[in-house]
Amino acid sequence: MTAIAQSVVAQPETREPQPHEILPQSAPGLDLARIRADFPILAERINGKPLIYLDNGATSQKPQVVLDAIANYYKHMNANIHRGVHTLSVRATEAHDAARQTVRKFLNAADTREIIFVRGATEAINLVAQTYGRVHVGAGDEVLITAMEHHSNIVPWQILCEEKGAHLRVAPINDRGELQLDEFAKLVGPRTKIVAVTHVSNALGTVVPLRPIIDIAHRHGVPVLIDGAQAVPHFAVDVQALDCDFYAFSGHKVYGPTGIGVLYGKRALLNAMPPYQGGGDMISSVTFAKTTYNDLPFKFEAGTPDIAGAIALGAALNYIGNLGMDKIAAHESELLNYATETVGAIPGVRLIGTASERAGVLSFLLDHVHPHDLGTILDREGIAIRTGHHCAQPVMERFGISATARASFAVYNTKEEIDALVAGIRTAREVFA
Protein backbone atom coordinates (compact mmCIF):
# COMPACT_ATOMS: atom_id res chain seq x y z
CA MET A 1 0.00 0.00 0.00
CA THR A 2 1.35 3.39 -0.89
CA ALA A 3 0.13 6.73 0.25
CA ILE A 4 1.66 9.09 -2.23
CA ALA A 5 -0.20 12.34 -2.48
CA GLN A 6 -1.49 13.45 -5.81
CA SER A 7 0.79 15.66 -7.87
CA VAL A 8 3.92 14.96 -5.88
CA VAL A 9 6.28 12.05 -5.73
CA ALA A 10 7.43 11.17 -2.24
CA GLN A 11 11.09 10.64 -1.53
CA PRO A 12 11.01 7.98 1.18
CA GLU A 13 14.00 7.67 3.46
CA THR A 14 15.81 4.45 2.80
CA ARG A 15 17.19 3.80 6.29
CA GLU A 16 15.23 2.09 9.01
CA PRO A 17 14.07 4.20 11.97
CA GLN A 18 16.50 3.83 14.86
CA PRO A 19 15.30 3.41 18.43
CA HIS A 20 16.28 6.04 21.01
CA GLU A 21 17.14 8.52 18.31
CA ILE A 22 17.05 12.17 19.33
CA LEU A 23 13.69 13.78 18.60
CA PRO A 24 12.67 14.49 16.00
CA GLN A 25 14.04 12.66 13.02
CA SER A 26 14.84 14.84 10.06
CA ALA A 27 12.55 15.02 7.09
CA PRO A 28 13.98 15.67 3.65
CA GLY A 29 14.32 19.41 3.25
CA LEU A 30 12.43 20.23 6.44
CA ASP A 31 13.89 21.20 9.82
CA LEU A 32 11.29 19.47 11.98
CA ALA A 33 12.70 20.68 15.30
CA ARG A 34 12.44 24.24 14.07
CA ILE A 35 8.97 23.72 12.61
CA ARG A 36 7.77 22.23 15.91
CA ALA A 37 9.16 25.25 17.75
CA ASP A 38 7.01 27.45 15.51
CA PHE A 39 3.85 25.93 17.06
CA PRO A 40 3.59 27.08 20.70
CA ILE A 41 0.82 24.63 21.58
CA LEU A 42 3.10 21.66 20.89
CA ALA A 43 4.85 22.52 24.18
CA GLU A 44 1.64 21.74 26.10
CA ARG A 45 1.57 18.78 28.42
CA ILE A 46 -1.57 16.64 28.51
CA ASN A 47 -2.10 14.47 31.59
CA GLY A 48 1.57 14.99 32.38
CA LYS A 49 2.73 13.82 28.96
CA PRO A 50 3.95 15.86 25.97
CA LEU A 51 1.10 16.61 23.59
CA ILE A 52 1.05 14.35 20.55
CA TYR A 53 -1.48 15.96 18.28
CA LEU A 54 -2.80 13.55 15.65
CA ASP A 55 -6.21 15.16 15.09
CA ASN A 56 -5.18 17.48 12.30
CA GLY A 57 -8.05 16.35 10.10
CA ALA A 58 -10.38 18.01 12.60
CA THR A 59 -8.28 21.15 12.88
CA SER A 60 -4.59 21.91 12.63
CA GLN A 61 -2.56 23.80 15.21
CA LYS A 62 -1.40 27.33 14.46
CA PRO A 63 2.16 28.59 14.04
CA GLN A 64 3.33 31.69 15.90
CA VAL A 65 3.21 33.75 12.67
CA VAL A 66 -0.55 33.17 12.50
CA LEU A 67 -1.06 34.12 16.16
CA ASP A 68 1.09 37.20 15.55
CA ALA A 69 -0.89 38.16 12.45
CA ILE A 70 -4.13 38.20 14.47
CA ALA A 71 -2.62 40.21 17.33
CA ASN A 72 -0.83 42.54 14.92
CA TYR A 73 -4.02 43.27 13.06
CA TYR A 74 -5.93 44.24 16.20
CA LYS A 75 -2.98 46.15 17.67
CA HIS A 76 -1.96 48.12 14.61
CA MET A 77 -4.59 48.18 11.89
CA ASN A 78 -8.06 47.37 13.21
CA ALA A 79 -10.60 49.29 11.11
CA ASN A 80 -13.34 48.43 8.69
CA ILE A 81 -12.27 47.80 5.13
CA HIS A 82 -13.34 49.44 1.86
CA ARG A 83 -14.85 52.39 3.71
CA GLY A 84 -12.74 54.87 5.53
CA VAL A 85 -10.23 57.29 4.10
CA HIS A 86 -8.29 57.16 7.33
CA THR A 87 -4.96 55.45 7.69
CA LEU A 88 -6.08 52.43 9.69
CA SER A 89 -8.81 51.60 7.19
CA VAL A 90 -6.29 51.81 4.38
CA ARG A 91 -3.91 49.51 6.28
CA ALA A 92 -6.67 46.98 6.99
CA THR A 93 -7.92 47.09 3.39
CA GLU A 94 -4.42 46.59 2.00
CA ALA A 95 -3.69 43.69 4.34
CA HIS A 96 -7.03 42.07 3.50
CA ASP A 97 -6.37 42.50 -0.24
CA ALA A 98 -2.88 41.04 0.19
CA ALA A 99 -4.39 37.98 1.90
CA ARG A 100 -6.69 37.44 -1.08
CA GLN A 101 -3.68 37.66 -3.37
CA THR A 102 -1.90 35.05 -1.21
CA VAL A 103 -4.88 32.70 -1.52
CA ARG A 104 -4.98 33.23 -5.27
CA LYS A 105 -1.33 32.22 -5.56
CA PHE A 106 -1.83 29.28 -3.19
CA LEU A 107 -4.54 27.81 -5.45
CA ASN A 108 -2.96 29.15 -8.65
CA ALA A 109 -6.23 30.85 -9.52
CA ALA A 110 -6.15 33.19 -12.51
CA ASP A 111 -7.62 36.22 -10.76
CA THR A 112 -8.18 37.49 -7.20
CA ARG A 113 -11.80 38.18 -8.16
CA GLU A 114 -12.26 34.42 -8.17
CA ILE A 115 -11.36 34.18 -4.46
CA ILE A 116 -14.36 34.61 -2.14
CA PHE A 117 -13.76 34.71 1.59
CA VAL A 118 -16.32 32.70 3.54
CA ARG A 119 -16.49 31.12 7.01
CA GLY A 120 -15.20 27.76 5.87
CA ALA A 121 -15.66 24.94 3.38
CA THR A 122 -19.18 24.36 4.71
CA GLU A 123 -20.27 27.89 3.92
CA ALA A 124 -18.54 27.76 0.55
CA ILE A 125 -20.55 24.69 -0.46
CA ASN A 126 -23.79 26.16 0.89
CA LEU A 127 -23.08 29.32 -1.09
CA VAL A 128 -22.81 27.41 -4.35
CA ALA A 129 -25.86 25.25 -3.58
CA GLN A 130 -27.97 28.29 -2.74
CA THR A 131 -26.86 30.46 -5.67
CA TYR A 132 -25.70 28.39 -8.63
CA GLY A 133 -27.82 25.48 -7.45
CA ARG A 134 -31.04 27.42 -7.00
CA VAL A 135 -30.75 28.88 -10.48
CA HIS A 136 -29.73 25.76 -12.37
CA VAL A 137 -31.25 22.81 -10.49
CA GLY A 138 -34.94 22.25 -11.12
CA ALA A 139 -37.58 19.58 -10.64
CA GLY A 140 -36.36 16.18 -11.82
CA ASP A 141 -32.75 17.36 -12.15
CA GLU A 142 -29.86 15.62 -10.43
CA VAL A 143 -26.96 16.57 -8.20
CA LEU A 144 -24.14 14.01 -8.22
CA ILE A 145 -21.90 13.43 -5.21
CA THR A 146 -19.87 10.42 -4.01
CA ALA A 147 -20.31 7.92 -1.18
CA MET A 148 -17.33 9.35 0.71
CA GLU A 149 -18.48 12.91 1.21
CA HIS A 150 -18.38 14.75 4.53
CA HIS A 151 -21.83 15.79 5.75
CA SER A 152 -20.98 19.33 4.60
CA ASN A 153 -20.94 18.13 0.99
CA ILE A 154 -24.17 16.13 1.38
CA VAL A 155 -26.64 18.17 3.39
CA PRO A 156 -26.51 21.46 1.41
CA TRP A 157 -27.38 19.46 -1.73
CA GLN A 158 -30.14 17.56 0.06
CA ILE A 159 -31.68 20.85 1.14
CA LEU A 160 -31.49 22.11 -2.44
CA CYS A 161 -32.91 18.89 -3.91
CA GLU A 162 -35.77 18.89 -1.43
CA GLU A 163 -36.64 22.47 -2.24
CA LYS A 164 -36.48 21.93 -6.01
CA GLY A 165 -37.84 18.41 -6.31
CA ALA A 166 -34.45 17.30 -7.63
CA HIS A 167 -32.60 14.04 -6.90
CA LEU A 168 -29.31 13.44 -5.12
CA ARG A 169 -27.26 10.76 -6.87
CA VAL A 170 -24.36 9.07 -5.11
CA ALA A 171 -21.42 7.48 -6.94
CA PRO A 172 -20.30 4.34 -5.07
CA ILE A 173 -16.91 3.47 -3.58
CA ASN A 174 -15.23 0.07 -3.44
CA ASP A 175 -14.06 -1.86 -0.36
CA ARG A 176 -10.73 -0.02 -0.37
CA GLY A 177 -12.55 3.30 -0.22
CA GLU A 178 -11.83 4.30 -3.83
CA LEU A 179 -14.36 5.98 -6.08
CA GLN A 180 -15.71 3.60 -8.74
CA LEU A 181 -15.02 5.78 -11.73
CA ASP A 182 -16.99 3.65 -14.21
CA GLU A 183 -20.07 3.86 -11.98
CA PHE A 184 -19.52 7.59 -11.57
CA ALA A 185 -19.40 8.01 -15.35
CA LYS A 186 -22.70 6.14 -15.73
CA LEU A 187 -24.38 8.54 -13.31
CA VAL A 188 -23.52 11.67 -15.28
CA GLY A 189 -26.34 12.40 -17.68
CA PRO A 190 -28.57 15.10 -19.18
CA ARG A 191 -30.32 15.71 -15.85
CA THR A 192 -27.03 16.19 -13.95
CA LYS A 193 -26.70 19.88 -13.12
CA ILE A 194 -23.70 19.87 -10.80
CA VAL A 195 -21.10 17.40 -9.51
CA ALA A 196 -19.73 17.88 -5.98
CA VAL A 197 -16.79 15.71 -4.94
CA THR A 198 -14.28 15.67 -2.15
CA HIS A 199 -10.59 15.94 -3.03
CA VAL A 200 -9.48 13.87 -0.02
CA SER A 201 -11.86 11.82 2.13
CA ASN A 202 -11.75 12.99 5.74
CA ALA A 203 -12.76 9.55 7.02
CA LEU A 204 -10.67 7.33 4.74
CA GLY A 205 -7.82 9.50 3.47
CA THR A 206 -8.59 8.54 -0.14
CA VAL A 207 -7.18 10.99 -2.69
CA VAL A 208 -9.85 11.18 -5.38
CA PRO A 209 -8.58 11.25 -8.98
CA LEU A 210 -10.11 14.57 -9.97
CA ARG A 211 -8.93 14.97 -13.53
CA PRO A 212 -10.98 12.09 -14.98
CA ILE A 213 -14.02 13.11 -12.91
CA ILE A 214 -13.85 16.69 -14.11
CA ASP A 215 -13.28 15.59 -17.72
CA ILE A 216 -16.33 13.31 -17.62
CA ALA A 217 -18.52 16.04 -16.10
CA HIS A 218 -17.30 18.70 -18.52
CA ARG A 219 -17.99 16.46 -21.51
CA HIS A 220 -21.62 16.66 -20.34
CA GLY A 221 -21.35 20.40 -19.72
CA VAL A 222 -21.68 19.90 -15.96
CA PRO A 223 -19.67 22.07 -13.56
CA VAL A 224 -17.72 20.45 -10.72
CA LEU A 225 -17.30 21.64 -7.14
CA ILE A 226 -14.38 20.23 -5.17
CA ASP A 227 -14.40 20.03 -1.37
CA GLY A 228 -10.71 20.58 -0.73
CA ALA A 229 -10.84 20.89 3.07
CA GLN A 230 -8.70 17.78 3.60
CA ALA A 231 -6.47 18.33 0.57
CA VAL A 232 -4.96 21.81 0.78
CA PRO A 233 -3.02 21.17 4.02
CA HIS A 234 -1.26 18.18 2.48
CA PHE A 235 -0.22 18.89 -1.10
CA ALA A 236 -0.14 21.62 -3.73
CA VAL A 237 -3.46 22.32 -5.46
CA ASP A 238 -3.70 24.05 -8.82
CA VAL A 239 -7.29 24.94 -9.69
CA GLN A 240 -6.37 25.88 -13.26
CA ALA A 241 -4.61 22.58 -13.89
CA LEU A 242 -7.57 20.73 -12.37
CA ASP A 243 -9.98 22.88 -14.40
CA CYS A 244 -12.51 22.58 -11.55
CA ASP A 245 -15.32 25.12 -11.49
CA PHE A 246 -15.48 25.61 -7.73
CA TYR A 247 -13.01 24.71 -5.00
CA ALA A 248 -13.79 25.06 -1.28
CA PHE A 249 -11.52 24.90 1.76
CA SER A 250 -11.39 25.89 5.43
CA GLY A 251 -8.63 28.04 6.87
CA HIS A 252 -8.43 26.26 10.21
CA LYS A 253 -7.41 22.93 8.69
CA VAL A 254 -4.49 24.57 6.91
CA TYR A 255 -2.85 26.22 9.94
CA GLY A 256 -5.08 29.31 9.84
CA PRO A 257 -7.74 30.44 12.33
CA THR A 258 -11.28 29.12 12.60
CA GLY A 259 -14.09 31.14 11.04
CA ILE A 260 -12.36 31.84 7.73
CA GLY A 261 -12.38 29.84 4.54
CA VAL A 262 -12.32 30.20 0.79
CA LEU A 263 -14.53 29.57 -2.18
CA TYR A 264 -12.74 29.62 -5.50
CA GLY A 265 -15.03 29.89 -8.50
CA LYS A 266 -14.44 30.48 -12.19
CA ARG A 267 -15.14 34.13 -12.90
CA ALA A 268 -17.74 33.58 -15.60
CA LEU A 269 -19.74 31.30 -13.29
CA LEU A 270 -19.48 33.62 -10.30
CA ASN A 271 -20.49 36.61 -12.43
CA ALA A 272 -23.62 34.84 -13.62
CA MET A 273 -24.65 33.70 -10.13
CA PRO A 274 -27.09 35.66 -7.97
CA PRO A 275 -25.75 36.94 -4.63
CA TYR A 276 -25.77 34.67 -1.57
CA GLN A 277 -26.51 37.15 1.20
CA GLY A 278 -27.54 40.77 1.00
CA GLY A 279 -26.03 43.61 2.97
CA GLY A 280 -23.22 46.09 3.05
CA ASP A 281 -20.14 45.72 0.88
CA MET A 282 -21.90 43.51 -1.67
CA ILE A 283 -23.69 46.42 -3.35
CA SER A 284 -22.64 49.26 -5.57
CA SER A 285 -25.79 51.32 -5.13
CA VAL A 286 -28.99 50.92 -3.18
CA THR A 287 -32.32 52.62 -3.61
CA PHE A 288 -35.66 51.33 -2.46
CA ALA A 289 -36.53 50.76 -6.10
CA LYS A 290 -33.40 48.83 -7.12
CA THR A 291 -30.05 47.68 -5.84
CA THR A 292 -27.05 47.16 -8.05
CA TYR A 293 -24.68 44.48 -6.86
CA ASN A 294 -20.99 45.01 -6.43
CA ASP A 295 -18.38 43.37 -8.63
CA LEU A 296 -16.56 40.18 -7.75
CA PRO A 297 -15.47 39.10 -5.24
CA PHE A 298 -17.45 41.55 -3.08
CA LYS A 299 -20.82 40.51 -4.48
CA PHE A 300 -20.52 37.38 -2.34
CA GLU A 301 -19.07 39.03 0.76
CA ALA A 302 -21.99 40.81 2.43
CA GLY A 303 -21.27 42.52 5.71
CA THR A 304 -18.01 43.17 7.52
CA PRO A 305 -15.90 40.06 6.95
CA ASP A 306 -13.51 38.31 9.32
CA ILE A 307 -10.71 40.70 8.44
CA ALA A 308 -8.21 39.39 10.98
CA GLY A 309 -9.09 35.83 9.98
CA ALA A 310 -8.36 36.46 6.30
CA ILE A 311 -5.07 38.18 7.11
CA ALA A 312 -4.06 35.34 9.45
CA LEU A 313 -5.03 32.77 6.81
CA GLY A 314 -2.74 34.59 4.43
CA ALA A 315 0.03 34.30 7.03
CA ALA A 316 -0.62 30.56 7.37
CA LEU A 317 -0.49 29.99 3.61
CA ASN A 318 2.71 32.02 3.35
CA TYR A 319 4.18 29.94 6.19
CA ILE A 320 3.57 26.60 4.47
CA GLY A 321 4.42 28.08 1.10
CA ASN A 322 7.84 29.01 2.49
CA LEU A 323 8.30 25.47 3.84
CA GLY A 324 7.35 24.14 0.41
CA MET A 325 4.19 22.18 -0.33
CA ASP A 326 6.13 19.44 -2.09
CA LYS A 327 8.37 18.94 0.94
CA ILE A 328 5.35 18.88 3.23
CA ALA A 329 3.66 16.33 0.97
CA ALA A 330 6.75 14.13 0.92
CA HIS A 331 7.14 14.26 4.71
CA GLU A 332 3.48 13.54 5.39
CA SER A 333 3.42 10.77 2.82
CA GLU A 334 6.32 9.14 4.63
CA LEU A 335 4.53 9.56 7.98
CA LEU A 336 1.38 8.00 6.57
CA ASN A 337 3.29 5.07 5.09
CA TYR A 338 5.09 4.54 8.39
CA ALA A 339 1.83 4.74 10.38
CA THR A 340 0.08 2.40 7.94
CA GLU A 341 2.86 -0.18 8.39
CA THR A 342 3.29 0.09 12.16
CA VAL A 343 -0.33 0.54 13.21
CA GLY A 344 -1.42 -2.00 10.62
CA ALA A 345 1.00 -4.54 12.11
CA ILE A 346 -0.63 -4.44 15.56
CA PRO A 347 -2.63 -7.64 16.08
CA GLY A 348 -6.36 -6.94 15.97
CA VAL A 349 -6.05 -3.71 13.97
CA ARG A 350 -8.17 -3.36 10.84
CA LEU A 351 -7.47 -0.39 8.57
CA ILE A 352 -10.57 1.31 7.14
CA GLY A 353 -9.68 2.94 3.84
CA THR A 354 -6.84 1.33 1.95
CA ALA A 355 -6.98 3.28 -1.31
CA SER A 356 -3.89 3.21 -3.52
CA GLU A 357 -3.54 6.97 -3.05
CA ARG A 358 -4.13 8.40 0.38
CA ALA A 359 -3.19 11.58 2.21
CA GLY A 360 -3.16 12.76 5.78
CA VAL A 361 -5.50 10.22 7.38
CA LEU A 362 -5.22 6.74 8.92
CA SER A 363 -8.59 5.33 9.95
CA PHE A 364 -8.70 2.04 11.83
CA LEU A 365 -10.52 -0.28 14.21
CA LEU A 366 -9.09 -2.34 17.04
CA ASP A 367 -10.77 -5.66 17.86
CA HIS A 368 -12.71 -5.63 21.14
CA VAL A 369 -11.91 -1.97 21.79
CA HIS A 370 -14.44 0.67 20.82
CA PRO A 371 -12.83 3.77 19.25
CA HIS A 372 -14.12 5.91 22.11
CA ASP A 373 -12.36 3.80 24.70
CA LEU A 374 -9.21 3.83 22.60
CA GLY A 375 -9.45 7.62 22.35
CA THR A 376 -9.73 7.97 26.13
CA ILE A 377 -6.78 5.67 26.77
CA LEU A 378 -4.61 7.48 24.20
CA ASP A 379 -5.60 10.84 25.70
CA ARG A 380 -4.13 9.64 29.02
CA GLU A 381 -0.86 9.25 27.08
CA GLY A 382 -1.16 12.80 25.74
CA ILE A 383 -2.17 11.55 22.30
CA ALA A 384 -5.07 13.31 20.58
CA ILE A 385 -6.92 11.35 17.90
CA ARG A 386 -10.45 11.60 16.56
CA THR A 387 -12.94 8.87 17.33
CA GLY A 388 -16.43 8.58 15.91
CA HIS A 389 -18.09 8.84 12.54
CA HIS A 390 -16.08 11.87 11.38
CA CYS A 391 -19.22 13.62 10.09
CA ALA A 392 -19.29 10.99 7.36
CA GLN A 393 -21.99 8.59 8.52
CA PRO A 394 -22.70 7.23 5.01
CA VAL A 395 -19.03 6.17 4.84
CA MET A 396 -19.40 4.33 8.16
CA GLU A 397 -22.56 2.68 6.85
CA ARG A 398 -20.75 1.63 3.66
CA PHE A 399 -18.23 -0.26 5.81
CA GLY A 400 -20.87 -1.58 8.20
CA ILE A 401 -19.41 0.18 11.24
CA SER A 402 -20.52 3.01 13.50
CA ALA A 403 -17.19 4.66 14.20
CA THR A 404 -13.45 4.50 13.63
CA ALA A 405 -10.34 5.78 15.33
CA ARG A 406 -8.56 8.28 13.11
CA ALA A 407 -5.00 9.55 13.31
CA SER A 408 -4.43 12.46 10.97
CA PHE A 409 -1.13 14.15 10.28
CA ALA A 410 0.39 17.57 9.81
CA VAL A 411 3.81 18.89 8.87
CA TYR A 412 4.95 19.01 12.53
CA ASN A 413 4.29 15.34 13.24
CA THR A 414 7.14 12.87 13.60
CA LYS A 415 7.75 9.15 13.35
CA GLU A 416 8.43 9.13 17.10
CA GLU A 417 4.88 10.35 17.66
CA ILE A 418 3.59 7.48 15.57
CA ASP A 419 5.71 5.10 17.68
CA ALA A 420 3.96 6.55 20.76
CA LEU A 421 0.59 6.02 19.06
CA VAL A 422 1.48 2.39 18.41
CA ALA A 423 2.52 1.94 22.06
CA GLY A 424 -0.75 3.55 23.19
CA ILE A 425 -2.82 1.23 21.00
CA ARG A 426 -0.94 -1.74 22.48
CA THR A 427 -1.76 -0.44 26.00
CA ALA A 428 -5.43 -0.27 25.06
CA ARG A 429 -5.27 -3.87 23.86
CA GLU A 430 -3.89 -4.91 27.24
CA VAL A 431 -6.57 -3.01 29.17
CA PHE A 432 -9.31 -4.75 27.20
CA ALA A 433 -7.50 -8.08 26.80
Binding site: H370, H372, T387, A403, V431
Partner: protein, 153 residues
Protein backbone atom coordinates in the same frame (compact mmCIF):
# COMPACT_ATOMS: atom_id res chain seq x y z
CA UNK B 1 -6.12 -7.09 32.74
CA UNK B 2 -5.49 -3.66 34.13
CA UNK B 3 -6.08 -0.12 33.09
CA UNK B 4 -2.96 1.04 34.92
CA UNK B 5 -2.93 3.49 37.76
CA UNK B 6 -4.94 6.56 38.59
CA UNK B 7 -7.88 8.04 36.76
CA UNK B 8 -7.82 5.56 33.92
CA UNK B 9 -8.27 2.59 36.23
CA UNK B 10 -10.97 4.59 38.08
CA UNK B 11 -12.80 4.83 34.77
CA UNK B 12 -12.20 1.32 33.51
CA UNK B 13 -12.90 -0.59 36.71
CA UNK B 14 -12.88 -4.38 36.52
CA UNK B 15 -16.64 -4.51 36.87
CA UNK B 16 -17.07 -2.14 33.92
CA UNK B 17 -14.65 -4.06 31.71
CA UNK B 18 -16.32 -7.32 32.63
CA UNK B 19 -19.84 -6.04 31.86
CA UNK B 20 -18.69 -4.49 28.58
CA UNK B 21 -17.32 -7.84 27.44
CA UNK B 22 -20.30 -9.87 28.61
CA UNK B 23 -23.25 -7.50 28.93
CA UNK B 24 -26.24 -8.82 30.92
CA UNK B 25 -29.75 -8.67 29.51
CA UNK B 26 -28.35 -8.00 26.05
CA UNK B 27 -31.40 -9.28 24.17
CA UNK B 28 -34.74 -8.34 22.72
CA UNK B 29 -37.43 -9.78 24.99
CA UNK B 30 -40.46 -11.11 23.17
CA UNK B 31 -42.80 -9.88 25.86
CA UNK B 32 -41.55 -6.26 26.00
CA UNK B 33 -44.47 -3.86 25.95
CA UNK B 34 -42.48 -0.61 25.81
CA UNK B 35 -39.21 0.31 24.17
CA UNK B 36 -37.21 3.33 22.99
CA UNK B 37 -34.18 4.01 20.84
CA UNK B 38 -31.29 6.15 21.98
CA UNK B 39 -28.63 7.70 19.82
CA UNK B 40 -25.45 9.61 20.45
CA UNK B 41 -24.96 11.68 17.29
CA UNK B 42 -21.43 12.64 18.30
CA UNK B 43 -20.10 9.08 18.11
CA UNK B 44 -22.79 7.17 16.25
CA UNK B 45 -23.53 4.85 19.18
CA UNK B 46 -27.01 3.40 19.34
CA UNK B 47 -28.99 1.72 22.08
CA UNK B 48 -32.47 0.25 22.30
CA UNK B 49 -33.98 -0.34 25.74
CA UNK B 50 -36.89 -2.78 26.08
CA UNK B 51 -39.08 -2.96 29.16
CA UNK B 52 -41.96 -5.11 30.21
CA UNK B 53 -44.07 -3.02 32.56
CA UNK B 54 -46.41 -4.72 34.99
CA UNK B 55 -48.51 -1.80 36.13
CA UNK B 56 -45.97 0.59 37.59
CA UNK B 57 -43.28 -2.06 38.06
CA UNK B 58 -40.47 -3.00 35.68
CA UNK B 59 -40.96 -6.75 35.38
CA UNK B 60 -38.24 -7.19 32.76
CA UNK B 61 -35.68 -4.91 31.14
CA UNK B 62 -33.13 -5.56 28.41
CA UNK B 63 -31.13 -3.69 25.79
CA UNK B 64 -29.42 -3.99 22.42
CA UNK B 65 -27.13 -1.78 20.37
CA UNK B 66 -23.52 -0.92 19.80
CA UNK B 67 -21.33 1.32 21.82
CA UNK B 68 -18.17 1.78 23.82
CA UNK B 69 -17.23 -0.10 26.98
CA UNK B 70 -18.70 2.62 29.19
CA UNK B 71 -22.06 2.70 27.43
CA UNK B 72 -22.37 -1.09 27.24
CA UNK B 73 -21.44 -1.59 30.88
CA UNK B 74 -23.74 1.22 31.95
CA UNK B 75 -26.67 -0.31 30.07
CA UNK B 76 -25.85 -3.78 31.37
CA UNK B 77 -25.67 -2.77 35.04
CA UNK B 78 -28.70 -0.53 34.65
CA UNK B 79 -30.81 -3.47 33.53
CA UNK B 80 -29.61 -5.54 36.49
CA UNK B 81 -30.40 -2.83 39.01
CA UNK B 82 -33.79 -1.83 37.64
CA UNK B 83 -35.43 -5.23 37.34
CA UNK B 84 -38.32 -5.22 39.82
CA UNK B 85 -38.09 -1.50 40.53
CA UNK B 86 -40.98 0.91 40.05
CA UNK B 87 -41.00 3.68 37.48
CA UNK B 88 -40.59 6.29 40.24
CA UNK B 89 -37.61 4.41 41.69
CA UNK B 90 -36.00 4.19 38.25
CA UNK B 91 -36.42 7.91 37.65
CA UNK B 92 -34.90 8.67 41.06
CA UNK B 93 -31.96 6.35 40.39
CA UNK B 94 -31.29 8.06 37.05
CA UNK B 95 -31.25 11.38 38.85
CA UNK B 96 -28.70 10.09 41.36
CA UNK B 97 -26.68 8.33 38.68
CA UNK B 98 -26.54 11.53 36.63
CA UNK B 99 -25.33 13.39 39.72
CA UNK B 100 -22.65 10.74 40.25
CA UNK B 101 -21.21 10.71 36.72
CA UNK B 102 -21.25 14.48 36.42
CA UNK B 103 -19.48 14.83 39.76
CA UNK B 104 -22.33 16.74 41.38
CA UNK B 105 -22.88 14.07 44.00
CA UNK B 106 -20.24 12.09 45.86
CA UNK B 107 -20.64 8.29 45.80
CA UNK B 108 -21.22 8.34 49.58
CA UNK B 109 -24.31 10.53 49.09
CA UNK B 110 -25.94 8.06 46.73
CA UNK B 111 -26.39 4.86 48.77
CA UNK B 112 -29.21 3.62 46.54
CA UNK B 113 -26.91 3.37 43.54
CA UNK B 114 -25.12 0.27 44.83
CA UNK B 115 -23.17 -1.34 42.00
CA UNK B 116 -23.70 1.73 39.79
CA UNK B 117 -21.10 3.52 41.91
CA UNK B 118 -18.39 1.91 39.78
CA UNK B 119 -19.16 4.72 37.32
CA UNK B 120 -17.99 7.46 39.70
CA UNK B 121 -14.72 7.66 37.72
CA UNK B 122 -16.64 8.98 34.70
CA UNK B 123 -16.91 12.36 36.40
CA UNK B 124 -13.21 12.93 35.70
CA UNK B 125 -13.84 12.34 31.97
CA UNK B 126 -16.47 14.91 30.94
CA UNK B 127 -16.32 13.72 27.32
CA UNK B 128 -17.59 10.31 28.44
CA UNK B 129 -20.63 11.37 30.51
CA UNK B 130 -22.88 10.90 27.48
CA UNK B 131 -21.59 7.36 27.03
CA UNK B 132 -22.54 6.53 30.62
CA UNK B 133 -25.99 8.11 30.40
CA UNK B 134 -27.13 7.02 26.91
CA UNK B 135 -28.92 3.91 28.19
CA UNK B 136 -30.54 5.89 30.99
CA UNK B 137 -31.81 8.60 28.67
CA UNK B 138 -33.19 5.84 26.48
CA UNK B 139 -34.81 4.16 29.48
CA UNK B 140 -36.49 7.42 30.42
CA UNK B 141 -37.94 7.61 26.94
CA UNK B 142 -39.05 3.96 27.09
CA UNK B 143 -40.79 4.59 30.41
CA UNK B 144 -42.66 7.48 28.82
CA UNK B 145 -43.29 5.30 25.76
CA UNK B 146 -42.10 8.03 23.41
CA UNK B 147 -42.11 7.34 19.70
CA UNK B 148 -39.24 9.62 18.70
CA UNK B 149 -35.69 8.35 19.27
CA UNK B 150 -33.92 10.08 22.14
CA UNK B 151 -30.64 11.84 21.44
CA UNK B 152 -27.87 12.75 23.86
CA UNK B 153 -27.52 16.09 22.07
Amino acid sequence: MSAGNGELSDLYQEVILEHSKAPRNFRKPAEANQHAEGYNPLCGDRCTVYINMDGDAIRDIAFQGNGCAISRASASIMTQILKGKTKAEAVKLFDEFHGLVTGKEAPAETPDLGKLKVFSGVSKFPARVKCATLAWHTLQSALENKDTPVSTE
